[in-house]
């Protein structure tokens, strides 16, 4: 029994942290976030050196065959550095989808290229969380029609994995005829999101037609978004503590005022248990698949609430400076804002958790 990280996991986490500390200072984030496609080749290259793009890809396809807990640790570090790279969809969800439900041919065609950093696949599964008027993709006779919102890791994708209204996943090359790609601007300029419009687009379905795989991706995505908030929250708490240990007002360090101390203590007290909850959910993804959906809903909803509080409170501790662009605190603030809404906000995840436990029947 060990509820904690293995030595390898600690090394992975530290290696990613060092790599990002070296290659991804805030100034670099700032530059990247001002571009249409924020993805930093420099940071991506450095992560490639650690094998991160292939971390979730089985060894026989050129990857490292790691676990979702490993990916959660990486997600946490990426958020801690507000790293402008593709990861969640391109290097976790897409590899998981292909590994778990792809044909041998699909695996051979895509996985080695993802592992080597030559290709990346964007994933659009929003529709399985929030059905929207005017959105939704139907599949008839192998052709896709309709609209998919919130394709994650959108910019520069070589292909898209998209769910149809039955929950089945389809793989669509980026240059498919009849596919229109519309970038969306969100508060978070470190990650790229877009909308896909399909008009009689030819697509390859993945094998699973039960919706199970889309559900697995939703679980994994929620856990990683929670991990992302955890990393961003960690950074914001540390920054608040640091700032309050340097800033003087009324002849005292503001960190010696009880109000400021209690704000920091409350952030830490809510934040710290999230870490354990996320580890548990990520571990459950492989070890206890029957428990993971509930744990993912809990991790997602709880961090969504906790880190909205952390984002706001850290900004308040920074006073006017936190509101400016100068210290760049808002990059983390917005990262947390993004994580909260994507793949379902807290209320939505809790509603799903209630159904999963049979508290009520599905609507």
């Amino acid at each position: 029994m060990d509820f904690g990280l293995s030595q390898e996991q600690q090394m992975l986490r530290d290696a990613v942290a060092r790599c990002l500390a070296d290659t991804c200072p805030l100034e670099h984030v700032r530059e990247c976030s001002e571009r249409d496609n924020p993805v930093s080749d420099k940071v991506l290259d450095a992560l490639q050196g650690l094998g991160i793009p292939g971390m979730m890809i089985p060894e026989e396809h050129g990857g490292l065959g790691m676990t979702l807990l490993d990916a959660a640790l990486v997600a946490e570090q990426l958020a801690y550095a507000v790293a402008p790279v593709s990861f969640l969809a391109s290097h976790v969800l897409a590899p998981l989808a292909l590994s778990e439900a792809g044909s041998e041919d699909q695996k051979v065609r895509w996985l080695p290229k993802i592992a080597s950093g030559e290709a990346h696949i964007s994933v659009a599964i929003s529709e399985t969380v929030e059905a929207r008027d005017g959105a939704g993709v139907t599949c008839r006779g192998g052709k896709l029609d309709g609209t998919a919102l919130f394709a994650l890791d959108f910019a520069g994708a070589d292909a898209f994995l998209v769910t149809d209204t039955t929950g089945r996943l389809h793989l669509v090359p980026a240059n498919a005829s009849g596919l229109e790609k519309i970038p969306l601007t969100t508060i978070d300029r470190t990650r790229s999101v877009g909308e896909l419009r399909f008009a009689q687009v030819t697509a390859e379905p993945l094998a699973d037609d039960s919706g199970f795989t889309a559900g697995r991706l939703r679980d994994a995505g929620r856990i990683l978004l929670a991990a992302d908030s955890l990393g961003a929250g960690q950074a914001m708490i540390e920054k608040a503590v640091d700032y309050s240990g340097q800033r003087e007002q009324f002849g005292r360090l503001i960190g010696s005022f009880q109000a400021v101390k209690h704000m920091c203590a409350e952030m830490a007290a809510h934040h710290e248990p999230c870490r354990s909850l996320i580890w548990y959910a990520a571990y459950a993804y492989e070890a206890m698949p029957e428990d993971v959906s509930l744990a993912a809903c809990q991790a997602k909803s709880h961090t969504g609430d906790v880190h909205r509080f952390v984002a706001r409170t850290s900004t308040e501790v920074h006073g006017g400076m936190g509101f400016t662009d100068l210290v760049g605190l808002h990059y983390w603030f917005k990262r947390i804002g993004f994580d909260r809404q994507v793949l379902g906000g807290p209320e939505s995840a809790r509603a799903e958790a209630a159904v999963l436990q049979g508290w009520i029947k599905a609507a």
Partner: protein, 416 residues
């Protein structure tokens, strides 16, 4: 308790409605009123002054309408502009903060020179109070002026000078008496933004926009006559106008308008089978916010009635900034949640709602919670002035760099 305004005021209201019906089309759009008013906005301002719908109590000699103060009429004016969705008079810092200060404490010459052009939008002002090192503890400001051949020579830096880029003039707090205690060493100066040695740099905020500026002074020379009040009295001169600013942030009409926009959003925004307002969890939050808005509206009427009777605002007034700013922020938070994934879209995106303003509001309102006295400062004020609780015990002064003193402070000391 009587919420009727009575016949005189009802007539006034009708008259104003008629005015708005006849002339409302001449009002500028919201954008055109920002910072440097457009020609259209200046014309509208003049028309409003003529009819007494702005600058109402400012004497005619100084370009106002010259009427006796009448809190109810002021309230009716605000209500009717808000109800009609038509912008009222200019509401820049010159008008809301400098003009009342000059009228109270300026020399006759200063009043004649500045009040009318300010009211008419011909002179735009910015405020130079906060500094990077003097926020909550404003009185510790360091921008200094020495006297040299009949002039103040100013060096230092201001922050949050919102309209500095467009401003003709600045009203500014500078330290002139270097040996005086911190509140007693400050003077209130007014000078042109064209004075040599002033540099204005846009200050980008978390919203991605530069709603504010930083302003740098390097050997800026200002004639000694351009002071309001006495030397060393600037803190007290400024405090009158800070009160005006605090009042502005708690406008219950603005809260109501934002709340109604949220209701519209939640009736329009659809997720899955229903509208956002059909989701009972979100609807419950909406109802809770509505009750709070209603309470703040009633609280506002109570403050108004107290003013009418010449009674102090008391606790009802002290809590307005804290509660209103928080409530506005929470309204935006619910709007974001009600949009689900769409909640992350920002200005300029496809599919954005209301031009991304909900996220902008959410962030900007956090800025308002912090600005003009942080929530922590507000709570200190409520506790000490409103509840008469003991102040923090006086500490020995800390000198030297912060870092060096940190260790010194880490003595074992309980802190309830």
């Amino acid at each position: 308790m009587d919420l009727d305004y009575g016949p005189e005021y009802d007539a006034f209201r009708q008259e104003m409605r008629l005015f708005l019906k006849m002339h409302g089309h001449r009002a500028p759009t919201g954008q055109a009123r920002a910072a440097r008013p457009s020609a259209e906005a200046v014309e509208w301002q003049k028309l409003l002054i003529e009819h007494g719908y702005t600058a109402r109590t400012i004497p005619r000699d100084y370009g106002g309408y010259g009427s006796e103060p009448d809190i109810l009429k002021s309230r009716i004016i605000a209500e009717e502009f808000s109800r009609a969705g038509i912008p009222g008079g200019l509401a820049n810092q010159g008008i809301s903060m400098l003009v009342p200060t000059l009228l109270e404490l300026g020399t006759e010459e200063q009043k004649r020179q500045w009040v009318e052009p300010t009211l008419k939008g011909e002179v735009v002002w910015c405020q130079g109070y906060s500094e990077p090192g003097a926020g909550s503890d404003l009185a510790s400001l360091k921008t200094s002026a020495r006297i040299e051949s009949g002039e103040f020579v100013i060096n230092g830096q201001k922050i949050w000078t919102s309209t500095a880029k467009q401003a003709d003039m600045i009203f500014c707090l500078v330290r002139t008496e270097h040996d005086a205690p911190k509140h007693g060493g400050i003077s209130y100066l007014i000078f042109s933004m064209d004075t040599p040695g002033i540099e204005v740099r846009p200050l980008k905020t978390m919203t991605g926009h530069a709603e504010f500026n930083e302003t740098f002074f390097s050997e800026v020379r200002v004639p000694v006559g351009q002071i309001v009040g006495e030397r060393g009295q600037g803190w007290f001169v400024a405090n009158a106008t800070l009160g005006h600013e605090r009042g502005m942030l708690g406008d219950p009409d603005a809260l109501e308008n934002r709340f109604q926009a949220l209701v519209r959003l939640m009736k329009e925004e659809r997720i899955g089978m229903g509208r956002a307002i059909d989701n009972s969890v979100l609807r419950d939050r909406l109802g809770a916010l509505q009750a709070e808005v209603a309470a703040m509206k009633c609280n506002g009427m109570r403050i108004l009635s107290n003013s009418l009777k010449g009674e102090p605002g008391g606790m009802a007034k002290l809590i307005v900034k804290l509660q209103s700013c928080e409530l506005a922020h929470q309204i935006s938070a619910l709007a974001i949640d009600a949009m689900g994934e769409m909640g992350i879209l920002y200005s300029g995106s496809a599919r954005e709602r209301m031009r991304g303003t909900w996220q902008w509001n959410y962030m900007f309102q956090l800025g308002l919670i912090i600005g003009g006295g942080t929530a922590q400062i507000q709570k200190n004020i409520i506790a000490e002035r409103g509840l008469d609780m003991p102040r923090e015990p006086k500490l020995p002064k800390i000198s030297g760099a912060a870092k060096g003193t940190a260790d010194m402070l880490r003595q074992k000391q309980g802190s309830a």
